[in-house]
């Protein structure tokens, strides 16, 4: 963990409002962006990031300060985002085909596009796919970690990743066609 983060964590645990303020301000923006990328909703992203920050502050006593703070905060944010999506889920994202197809052992590669285009297309994905894609390709989770996050088998995670990337490619190609037409 960065030295400054470690000091802030220790001081926040001791009840320093300044340290808490600094911690929140320092890490808010990225957590908020991750939340927005996953949920695609302005108000939802704010709720998610806020809940994540408050949970983190409440849980500081249990945090191992020898480890980096950011991944811990991002994990809490992803958990909150997943909860938010579940609360709002109208249709199960996991289809029977997903569950029974089995995912194999290979994780698909992200298509080769500019990062900004990829991020734009990720926002267009179905919510369930956004979770796995952001976790895998933005936050570098392993399939096992994603499986733990979304509570489905790792093989299914890989299936979902493949389907998500197929959808992502379609979106990117569509966007490219639109651009070339204009």
């Amino acid at each position: 963990m960065r030295r400054a983060d470690r000091d802030l964590v220790l001081r926040a645990r001791a009840g320093s409002a300044d340290a808490v303020t600094e911690l929140v301000r320092r890490h808010w923006v990225l957590c908020h962006k991750i939340a927005f990328l996953v949920c695609g909703d302005t108000a939802g992203a704010e709720d998610i990031a806020q809940e994540a920050m408050l949970s983190a502050i409440r849980g500081l006593d249990g945090f191992d300060e020898s480890r980096p703070l950011e991944p811990w905060l991002h994990r809490i944010t992803m958990n909150k985002a997943r909860d938010w999506l579940r609360r709002r889920a109208r249709h199960p994202e996991l289809t029977l085909a997903d569950a029974y197809e089995g995912g194999g052992s290979e994780e698909p590669d992200l298509p080769e596009y500019a990062a900004s285009e990829l991020l734009g297309a990720i926002r267009e994905l179905r919510p369930g796919y956004r979770v796995v894609v952001v976790a895998r390709y933005v936050l570098d989770y392993t399939s096992g970690e994603i499986a733990e996050l979304v509570d489905i088998p790792a093989t299914t995670v890989r299936t979902q990743l493949r389907r998500a990337l197929a959808e992502l490619r379609m979106l990117l190609e569509k966007e490219a066609r639109r651009e070339s037409a204009t």
Binding site: G15, H32, T42, I57, R90, A115, L139, D140
Partner: protein
Amino acid sequence: MNPLLEALCERPAPPGSDAACERTTALATAEVARRPQQCATRPRSRWTRPALAAAVVLAILLVATPPGREAISRAAKLIGIGEVGGPPTEPTEVGSFESATDHIVLATGQTADDVPFEIVAYRSDVPIQGTEDATVCANIEFPGTVDDTQGCYSGALRFGDICCPILQINSPATAVPYVEGQVNPRVDGVSVTYVDTSGRARTVDAVVGEITPAFAARLDVEHPIGIFIASLPDLAVEDLDPGVPGPKGAAETIELRTFGADGQELEGEAIEPLREAVTDAQVRGPEVASALAVAEALRKGRIAEEQNPCSYPRDLRRAIGLGAQECDRLKGALNGQYPRPSE
């Protein structure tokens, strides 16, 4: 660093991020203040008190003086969107319904083509339906554009889960069609399923702005409502026949569903489906259903017979979506020519 994470870091923050951060900071520090302290905090700097005093003076200057408010407004315009609970970015159109309260932003969001919008509510003392209930007006505003939609409602009508949904397909603000309408307070979420240009059914969640108990207290209204808007990218409207009012077939493909605070789907009491075109630009919810809602209110004694909204001036009737045709249907509904809604 992962290139995507790096790109994410470089992207602009979502709308309202700074203010949300400050709110979270305040909550987080309050959270810590409630906890028993493990050891003494460091002594306050001798500059803390003067800095706090300066911050308070600055806050007062910003909030309480016209130049300060103008500065806040300019800042909001730069950001492009107001803050939930705060004033709207631009003055709200009130039409016949003059406002009796401040205008409050209930929710903010972006259309599918990234146009920011605000859902804004206020109370008007201009009565609707001749009842004594407060009139609640709610607008969906797209700052910086001329496209605003307004709806004013009385708690007396107590409509079903969704009232008066409208499909906007020629908005000057956004190239993406959107559907908007009102929901009653038990509705926490709205999903919209429609057929896109590839023929596939697509479902999107609406942004719902709710007059929460806190907002209801600020507006002094007893019967709150919610307002929703959902952007429908790639809605199949190719069959729009130029010169003929309304898209043919687009509205029929749209299905609205409502959800409670626990995320469970509601039974969809009296949801009014989108149906009939009024102009090229919009499709209004069916007159029959609206007439039935009014008829139900009349029948249940929520409003008196002599308070039949069809007897009100034309602009008031239009504001609540009662056209001449609808009033004819209302008369029919009251005379039993249409099936009455279930109790």
